[in-house]
């Protein structure tokens, strides 16, 4: 395996590659492509909200038959909202984030030549690719893509009579998601097996970097919850195509009574959110893992409370599977269930708070190297706190009654999982770009990218809380039919301007990314003076990662700024420098953290 001179054609190296490093790049670039579509869509529907029913030539260009003289149709507004959510949650923040960094880092950080199964890994990517293609094709269906919201609640998603997008567009959505789930499951199984079995000598579970813990636990949550979404989707396909009544009952539409009897949409809601809520953590945990690693490295300090961090990841993972009902307080389910879900939901605040406090303590008395990766990680902590706190309002069933499905919810989840996870993803790209492409990204562009993005993120989502508290429902094509919301229009204009500027500013990142691949400064082996194993591999990628033996691990990954005298901050560094690679043997009498 250590010999990388076996024959590789263009196809096996760049297309049907089984090398985890290449697959991770494929995930990243595909995810970025989908991300551009998702962000563009949000910019279009934000324009409609701010300047309702105004004619824009940009709509004529992008919306084709779904606009009249440059005015967006109500149907396509809902479709844009739906596909924006689907793409961002699944294609960008699940596959693009987890797929990229799990693939890149798991073998490199645990000391393995590759994933347990390179072949399955390749299949996982190509299934993701196919599902992306199907999703993109669904945008061009004549009646429009799926438009029942990303949660695709039936009966709206089941009946083409109810909304045009529930025809062929919805079929393609379901097909795409089924393939996506297969991809995710194959990937997750591979990650779990690899972490459990392929750790190098000395790499105990308690010496794993927190990225590994996060990816490992994320994969487990995925394996537990994604199959439930698959079954929900299958039953929906049955209802749509084969006349079953899992979710449908007593429906009168387009002047006739349909034959469905005995099903319930609430069943779908349960099945959907049994994935849907853990999905939030599938998105967020990898970002938090990446942040833990980056904050520690760039603070030149050990992550504070390593074991507490692992404990809170496990607690969040466990709790995340028993809180789904907080999306359904007013769905008509038994109020007693609402009480139970309020209790479990608010419990999640405890491990989340522990994580936030631990990040801040890690910054305390650090020697912060404010690289773009570090800034995005700090930004994540900020948005995670802001978005997490409003969770205390929404998770409380009594309070949820009046703000459910308003813009308050939109603001909450965008900050806590959308912006936070995207920040984690950007942090990861800036930090591990040298590992992926052997070159560095430009820091000045990185700084511009960060500051514009965080200002715009807060500019969009902070005021959005307030229009939600004013009672404005989400997913309204326009609010002009309600004079009581007239005074919110100006705020919506401001939000849209921030959204457009923030969206366009991502060009800075994309340009930085692609130009750096070809023209970036060549990377050194360990540019951030990091402790973890991936920085012991050569800059140029080789099959099998390490040219010789896989190095042995002797310590945890966070020995930054370790001192000769642990109680004296002015004493010398124990190993002569402020970082100690995991491969460095312990000194005699060295204290182990």
């Amino acid at each position: 395996m250590s010999d990388h001179h076996h024959k590789e054609t263009f196809v096996t190296k760049y297309i049907f590659s089984q090398d985890h490093k290449m697959i991770s790049k494929q995930f990243l670039v595909t995810g970025m492509f989908m991300g551009i579509i998702g962000v563009l869509m949000s910019m279009l529907f934000r324009m409609q909200i701010a300047w309702p029913e105004q004619s824009f030539s940009i709509f004529e260009a992008f919306l084709g038959p779904h606009q009249t003289d440059g005015i967006m149709n109500p149907d396509i507004y809902l479709a844009l909202v739906t596909i924006h959510g689907t793409i961002m949650v699944f294609f960008v923040l699940t596959a693009g984030l987890s797929g990229t960094f799990s693939n890149l880092l798991i073998p490199l950080q645990i000391g393995a030549r590759d994933m347990a199964s390179g072949f399955l890994n390749m299949i996982s990517y190509w299934l993701f690719f196919v599902s992306s293609v199907v999703m993109v094709i669904s945008l061009f269906v004549e009646a429009g893509p799926a438009s029942a919201g990303w949660t695709i609640y039936p009966p709206l998603s089941a009946l083409p009579q109810a909304i045009p997008g529930s025809g062929a567009g919805m079929t393609l959505w379901l097909v795409s998601m089924a393939i996506f789930i297969a991809s995710s499951l194959i990937g997750s199984l591979n990650y779990i097996v690899t972490v459990l079995n392929l750790r190098t000598k000395g790499m105990k579970m308690t010496r794993l970097p927190l990225t590994m813990w996060a990816f490992f636990v994320t994969a487990i949550i995925g394996v537990v919850s994604f199959p439930v979404l698959l079954s929900a989707a299958l039953l929906l396909i049955f209802d749509r195509s084969f006349g079953t009544s899992f979710y449908l009952s007593d429906i009168f539409i387009s002047g006739e009574v349909l034959h469905y009897q005995g099903g319930s949409p609430v069943l779908f809601e349960h099945l959907f959110w049994f994935l849907g809520h853990p999905e939030v953590y599938i998105v967020l945990l990898p970002a938090l893992g990446i942040t833990s690693e980056i904050i520690s490295t760039h603070s030149r300090k050990p992550i504070f409370g390593y074991r507490a961090m692992i404990g809170s990841i496990l607690a969040i993972a466990f709790l995340s599977t028993i809180v789904w009902g907080h999306h359904m307080f007013i769905s008509g389910m038994n109020p007693f269930l609402g009480s139970v879900f309020t209790f479990t939901t608010l419990l999640i605040a405890i491990p989340s708070a522990v994580k936030a406090f631990n990040y801040i303590t890690t910054l305390w008395k650090g020697n912060l190297q404010l690289n773009p990766a570090m800034l995005f990680s700090i930004g994540l902590v900020s948005t995670f706190v802001t978005g997490g706190l409003t969770g205390l309002v929404l998770g409380d069933s009594a309070l949820d009654i009046n703000i459910h499905d308003t813009y308050f919810v939109v603001a909450h989840f965008h900050l806590v999982m959308g912006v936070s996870a995207i920040f984690g993803m950007y942090a990861g790209v800036y930090h591990w770009f040298p590992k992926m492409y052997g070159r560095m990204m430009n820091k000045t562009l990185g700084y511009w990218h960060f500051w514009i993005t965080i200002v715009c993120a807060y500019g969009v989502f902070w005021p959005m809380h307030f229009i939600g508290l004013a009672g404005l429902p989400r997913r309204y094509y326009t609010n002009t039919n309600f004079p009581m919301f007239d005074d919110l229009l100006q705020i919506n204009v401001v939000i849209t301007i921030f959204a457009l500027v923030g969206g366009i500013a991502q060009i800075i990142f994309i340009a930085n990314f692609f130009i750096s691949i070809y023209r970036g400064q060549k990377a050194t082996q360990n540019p951030w003076n990091s402790n973890t194993l991936e920085w012991t591999t050569p800059v140029e990628h080789i099959h099998g990662n390490w040219p010789g033996m896989i190095p042995e691990v002797h310590r945890w990954p966070y020995d930054y700024s370790k001192r000769v005298d642990p109680n004296d901050d002015n004493s010398d560094y124990l190993h002569g420098k402020d970082f100690v690679l995991q491969t460095t043997p312990l000194l005699e009498n060295e204290e182990v953290s």
Partner: protein, 337 residues
């Protein structure tokens, strides 16, 4: 406003291009001490922006918020909300300060040495137990309120009203003198006979039911709502009453509240007056008719193309006025032949 938007777009694109061309001669890749110093300062500048925005929104958007709860049950909701909001507001202000101040304070340079500080059992216990205690209070109050609102079992003398949803309109059915709704099912819908809500007219309870397109509620009486939908999910959202419940095809869902102020009283509420004046200033500038406050029921679950325009007016009146109004409504038996 639109011109401002184009200017912003222009600036954003301009800055992007300017920066992208600079990449060709900028080779910096790793933060130097100067970068750290600069970014540390920017962190403070950003913090100033964040605080300015947070405070601005909290103060100046207050007038846009919903007025005080118009239902008795919603009072505790407002109370719990205020407690929670103060709590998370304080935590938010403290935490954001710490995050961005630390970024500035501990910005790296060559002469600094980070403190090796890996663990503290005491601190971990503190920030596990403190949130746990605070949450125990919030959960306790929240659950008490939830159970209070959702428990409709002891409302013997509540007025029963069915709210009926379809794409894209609301109807309502009062239970009549017997205060019992007749059975309903989509199979009974007969548009030609004006049986649009699918009421079983062979059920004796149906005869005195009254179908209306606008809700009239008496002040001070508990209302027991039953919700139905004939096609897709809808959600009956009555924000002024802190009330919301999904309408689910195939089942009947319930919610209840007691109106506290008549529409007329609410129009004299100071918060409402202030908000209405603000709205009317905007409407006047556009040459639109002035707005007068009304309670509304909105659809708040995505239900199709015209989801954004699915509303029903609610009028709260004194009991005697309500009695007069309801007496004038025709019974179903007289409408559906």
């Amino acid at each position: 406003m639109l011109a401002l938007f184009y200017i912003f777009i222009g600036i954003a694109i301009g800055v992007s291009f300017w920066q992208i061309t600079r990449i060709l001669n900028l080779r910096g890749v790793i933060a130097t001490d100067e970068d750290n110093a600069k970014q540390g300062k920017y962190s403070l500048v950003f913090m100033a922006f964040l605080y300015a925005m947070m405070v601005y929104c909290l103060i100046f958007m207050n007038v846009l918020m919903l007025p005080e709860s118009a239902s008795i049950e919603g009072e505790h909701d407002d109370n719990l909300f205020n407690i929670t909001f103060w709590l998370i507001g304080i935590v938010q202000f403290v935490m954001q300060f710490i995050i961005f101040y630390f970024t500035f304070k501990y910005k790296g340079n060559k002469n600094r040495k980070a403190k090796f500080y890996a663990d503290s059992h005491k601190l971990e216990v503190i920030w596990t137990v403190t949130p746990a205690i605070v949450l125990a209070f919030l959960i306790g109050y929240g659950l008490w309120q939830w159970n209070d609102v959702m428990d409709l079992s002891d409302d013997k003398d509540a007025i029963v009203i069915e709210v009926y949803s379809q794409q894209f309109r609301w109807d309502a059915r009062y239970a009549g003198d017997d205060n019992t709704l007749g059975l309903g099912n989509v199979n009974y819908i007969d548009i030609n006979k004006l049986n649009t809500m699918g009421v079983d007219m062979s059920d004796p309870n149906s005869q005195d039911d009254k179908q209306v397109t606008e809700l009239y509620l008496p002040k001070g009486r508990k209302i027991h709502f039953k919700f139905r939908s004939q096609d897709v999910l809808h959600s009956a959202y009555m924000p002024h009453f802190r009330a919301q419940m999904n309408c689910v095809p195939g089942m009947v869902t319930e919610f209840g509240f007691t109106p506290k102020f008549t529409t007329e009283e609410m129009r004299l509420n100071l918060e409402v007056i202030e908000k209405t004046n603000g709205i009317n200033k905007i409407r006047m500038a556009k040459g639109e008719d002035p707005y007068e406050f009304d309670y509304l029921l909105l659809c708040n679950k995505i239900c199709g193309a015209s989801h954004y325009n699915m509303q029903m007016k609610i009028t709260v009146v004194e009991q005697d006025e309500y009695d007069k109004w309801i007496a004038k409504r025709p019974t179903l038996a007289s409408v559906i032949k």
